[in-house]
Every structure is written in structure tokens, then in C-alpha cells.
Amino acid sequence: MTESRGADLLRAEHLTRHFKIGGMLSRRTLHAVDDVSFSIGEREIVALAGESGSGKSTIARVLARVYKPTSGEAYFEGKPLSAIRSRRDGLRYSSLVPMVFQDPFASINPVFRVQHGVLRILKLHRPELSAKQRLEEAARVFGVVGLSTDMLGRFPYELSGGQRQRVGFAQALAMRPKLILADEPVSMLDVSIRIGLLNLMAKLRDEEGVSILYITHDIASARYVADRLIVMYAGQIAESGPIEDVLTTPKHPYTQLLLSAVPDPMAPLSQVSDHGEPPRVVDPAPGCRFRWRCPLAIDTCSAVTPALAELEPGHEVACHIAQTGAEVRAFAS
């Protein structure tokens, strides 16, 4: 499916976020996100996939302005995030780019009824509404996400995990967003419940015109809803492109590893000899961060950090061997 790349809704350029770790006297830095650049268009679901420690959640929090980037910049509708200074601008941005969280049990305050979050949001971000209009709007967004209006008055413990995640999406919708940052929204739900939420995300893209940055470690669910896929490893982008292209012809060895590890009952078991130890990237040396797990690593991989290069239209890879044009077959899938 060819994507129409009009004006980008969100553009990240060389985003970097480091954390100081250790005690007060330590000088070590954790490179959670290093030099990440990507863009998200309108009406588009972009999946950001990777293992834990890959930096995907950190990117979401940087885009949500929970953290400031150490360097680099993100532009929303052309305007840089660092230009947001006043509380008003901040509120406006957070209403256009809200976040949905992973844990349905921890992301809603348990002592209030589930309508509390939505009503607070409407009060903060759409002050022109009257109390009555707020209730109506709350009922409307609950309906869009598939919850009945009598759930408004319930407490979180009365709702299932799937229903609570829908409340999270309702809260995001109440802000009339352009881009929803969904941080592993279905990972803690039962597999049979995930489909409902994934269908909801597709519906939000198609009917409400919302873009979604879908952060996940489950490639299969990414394939189900996303238009494009960005694969992250150790804080850097390994590969990105239209999702079918990346999944049918993965060019980065790490992408191939991920694909081979996805459980598929209908396919024969692939032999994966990797023990699955993602790196914690502290004060890294230059070079490809995947080289220790890569069966194809050569000398250049230890010396030079591969840059992201476009090998096919829209399909970028950060791998020296792939960039030479050779066929990469590191892990059978």
C-alpha cells in the first residue's frame, strides 16, 4: 500500500535522551535513545517495535514531554517542542498528543469513578464546555470506544482490563487529538481481548482521523493495525518502512531475529539459537550495537556505527552489510 506523504504531523530529528545512572559521583550515562529520526503522517498508524531496553517507551515519554531530549528536536505540525514554554502552550500540545498507558490496572486512579479522568480532561482542555456538555461529551467518547454510558459511573475495579484500556482511549479521544501515543496498550491484556482494542485503534484512524504511534514488542499485532513499522534496538533505529515490506523482506539481522521468534502455531518451529539478552546501553563505544548477537558481523561493524540509509523507497536500514546490497539472511523465519 503506497502511503501519501503529505506534510508530516510529527517529525523527530536526531532525538537523543540519556540518563545519568549510579550515585551522585558517578559519571556513567545510560543511552536510552540515540540519534533517532522518523516521521508520522496524518491518518497513519506507525508501530514502534523492539524489546525492553530498546528505548521505545522513552521516545514516547519524550514526545509526551515527560522528559526533555538531551539533544535533537521533535517538530509537531512544524513547530518545535522546545518552543513550548507557557502552561497554555503545554496544555494545547498535550491535548493534541495524548498518551495511553500500558497497565490497565495502574493507569486509572482506583478511588474515583472512571468518568473522573475524562471529565477532568474536558475541564482542563475544553473549558468552553458547560458541565452538562462535558457529561454529554464523556458519554460520546465512551460510545466511540465501545463502552456503554452506564459505565461512566462505575469504579475501575468493576471493569475488566480490556474495558479499562478503552477508558484510556476515551480519555485520549476527549482531547480531540491528532496523534495518540499508545505505549504498549494491549500487552497486559489477554490475547483474545487484544483484537478488540486493535480494531478500535484502526477505527480511530479511519473514522476519527487520528494518527497513532503504536509502541509494542508484539510484531504480529503491529502487522494487524500498522501502516509502517520502525524496529528499534538498543536505543537506535535498526530498520523502518512500510509494514508489509519490512515483514516480507526484512533487511536488518535483528528484524529477522524478531520475526523468527514470533510464535506461530501454524508454521513449523524455527530454530533460534539466541538467548535473548538485550543490551543495557551504558557509555557505548562506536559500532553497531547488535554486533555481539549478529552472526554476520564483520570488522566494520565494531568500528563504525551504521547510519540509517534508504535501500528501497521508504524502506531504511542501519546495517553495513545490508547497505552493501548483499542479501542478509541471519536468522531463518
Binding site: 515527560v66 495524548p98 500500558q102 486512579n109 482542563l124 482542555h125 475495579y157
Partner: protein
């Protein structure tokens, strides 16, 4: 990636408090738990006695107008003491003083502890450091000697000083506890969600953090009230309160002064002592009950079903 965890499997049905008005839920909770019922009944009795002492005891507690050394009788249910005062009236009228101390100290201590402890945890950094120093200094000062010193200097000023002294030395422990719990909550998703949707810090602390700590705050209040009862009675017993106030502790003081137990007037000491114990028990029972309400795993299981071996 966090997983929901507890010792009980995920299928364990949640504590099914009926949704509805908060007071109705509390009422139901009290009725359903034996400890809560007992504690509430005791506390209510004491509160009623404190509110309407004149209705229950017909004699004046301070007037030494009666024949001394009387045993229990219809006119004087607990007899009279060496000064000719009616003991029953003393105990009844003394309830008011004790309860006032218990509630005021409980509320003040818990209030200060909530403000300082939760703010320290949520704001973190320099604030946490400064407030922590303040808390720790007071935490380390030995409590009882400090109380004695304070009360000795303000000897005769009575109940207000007692309340202030106990509050000053008690809040730091609770503040530490509440700070610890607030710290565990600080990075919970719903607080991040509140900040991300644009709430101000003060709003998050007051409206989002503190309501989730209610059970610990209530437990702190009950514990502090209990200790206030015991501490104030102890201070009054060693003569550091105002010996002219009518209170259980001062009654004990006078009983000790007159060697009541040795001179055959045991009720003079036993009656106020028993009241202290009962009021303390009321607070303690309520404390246990709140624990059980909050954590279903602690509730006693009625073993009315024998395991049937198929």
C-alpha cells in the same frame, strides 16, 4: 514490563464493596466485620459518655461533698475516694478530656504528617532532602524525656500544652511512613497520566495521591489517637498534667498519691485504668478492621465447610 501481582491468583474476586455513597459503604464494612463492629460500638459509647456526662453521672466529679472511702452502691456505682469525691462521676467526666486529646492529637499529627510526608515524596529532590532532615531530627529525639521536659516547663498549663507536646513529638514517625508509601505511588501510571494531561502539582498531590492513601492515613490517625491516649494518661499519671483537670490520668495520679491499691480502695485505680485500656482497645480493633477491609487476604475464613474427599 510490570505485571499485576499479589499473593492471590488473578481470579480472586475483588473486594466487592457495594458501589454507592461512601458512607453507606463504610456502614456496610463496619457491620460485616466483627472487629470493626466491636471497636465502633466501644468508641461510640465513649463518645456518647463524653458528650453527655451530666446525663449519666448525677454527681459532680470535683465536689468532695460525699462521705469518703465508700464502696460501690446504688448512689455511688464506683464508690468514693479518700477525698469524698464520687469516682463514677470522675471517670465519666474524665472521658471528655481524654477523647479531646485523642482526636485533636490524632488529627493534628496525621495532618502534619500527610502534608510533609506526601509533599516530600512527590516533590522529591531538594524538597525531599530538607523536609527529610526536619523529620529525622524530630524522629531521633527521645520521645518521653522530651515530653517530660516540655510538660515540666509548662507545668500547670494543662491540656493544650499536653496536646502540643505530644503532637510535636509524634508526627515525624507517621510522616516517614506516609512518605514511603507515597514514594511507591510516585511513578504509578495514573499519576504520570495526570501530569501528562496537564494537572498542576498541587492538584495531583491533593486530589490524586492522597485519596489513594486513605487506608494508611486512617490507620495512622487511629494509631496516633491510641498513643495519645496512652501518652497523655502516662504524663498525667506522673504529675505533669494539670492535676486539677478531671481526666483518667489525673485520677490515677491521685489514686497513686493516696496509695489506693494498698489502702483497700482498688476501684480508684482500676476504674480509670480499665477505661484507658478499653478506649485503647477500641482504637486498636478499628485499626485491625481497616487492615482487613483493605486486604481481603487477611480476613478470617469461616471454616464451615469440610473438605470432601471424592
Amino acid at each position: 514490563m510490570a505485571m499485576p501481582v499479589s499473593g492471590v491468583p488473578a481470579e480472586a474476586p475483588a473486594a466487592q464493596l457495594p458501589a454507592g455513597h461512601a458512607l453507606a459503604r463504610v456502614g456496610h464494612a463496619i457491620r460485616s466485620n466483627r472487629k470493626a463492629t466491636a471497636g465502633t460500638v466501644l468508641l461510640v459509647i465513649f463518645i456518647l459518655v463524653a458528650l453527655f456526662p451530666g446525663v449519666i453521672a448525677h454527681h459532680s466529679p470535683t465536689a468532695d461533698a460525699y462521705p469518703p472511702h465508700l464502696g460501690p452502691s446504688a448512689a455511688h456505682p464506683l464508690g468514693t475516694n479518700a477525698y469524698g469525691q464520687d469516682l463514677f462521676a470522675q471517670v465519666v467526666w474524665g472521658t471528655r478530656n481524654v477523647l479531646i486529646i485523642a482526636f485533636v492529637v490524632g488529627l493534628a499529627t496525621t495532618g502534619i504528617a500527610v502534608l510533609i510526608g506526601v509533599a516530600a515524596a512527590y516533590l522529591g529532590g531538594g524538597w525531599d532532602g530538607a523536609l527529610g532532615v526536619l523529620t529525622d531530627v524530630l524522629l531521633v529525639i527521645p520521645l518521653f524525656p522530651l515530653l517530660i521536659v516540655i510538660a515540666a516547663y509548662a507545668h500547670g498549663e494543662g491540656t493544650i500544652v499536653l496536646i502540643m507536646a505530644i503532637t510535636l513529638t509524634s508526627w515525624s514517625y507517621t510522616a516517614r511512613q506516609l512518605r514511603s508509601q507515597a514514594l511507591t505511588l510516585r511513578n504509578r501510571d495514573f499519576l504520570v497520566a495526570a501530569r501528562v494531561r496537564g494537572e498542576r502539582n498541587l492538584y495531583v498531590i491533593v486530589m490524586e495521591v492522597i485519596p489513594t492513601m486513605t487506608s494508611l492515613i486512617v490507620a495512622s490517625f487511629l494509631t496516633n489517637a491510641l498513643y495519645a491516649v496512652l501518652l497523655s494518661s502516662s504524663l498525667q499519671f506522673i504529675g505533669l498534667g494539670d492535676p486539677n483537670t478531671v481526666s483518667w490520668g489525673t485520677t490515677l495520679y491521685w489514686a497513686e498519691n493516696n496509695a489506693a491499691l494498698q489502702t483497700g480502695e482498688p476501684l480508684w485505680a482500676i476504674a480509670p485504668g480499665a477505661c484507658i485500656a478499653l478506649l485503647g482497645a477500641a482504637f486498636a480493633l478499628l485499626n485491625y478492621a481497616f487492615d482487613e477491609l483493605g486486604n481481603p487476604a487477611l480476613r478470617p475464613v469461616r471454616r464451615n465447610k469440610r473438605v470432601r474427599n471424592g
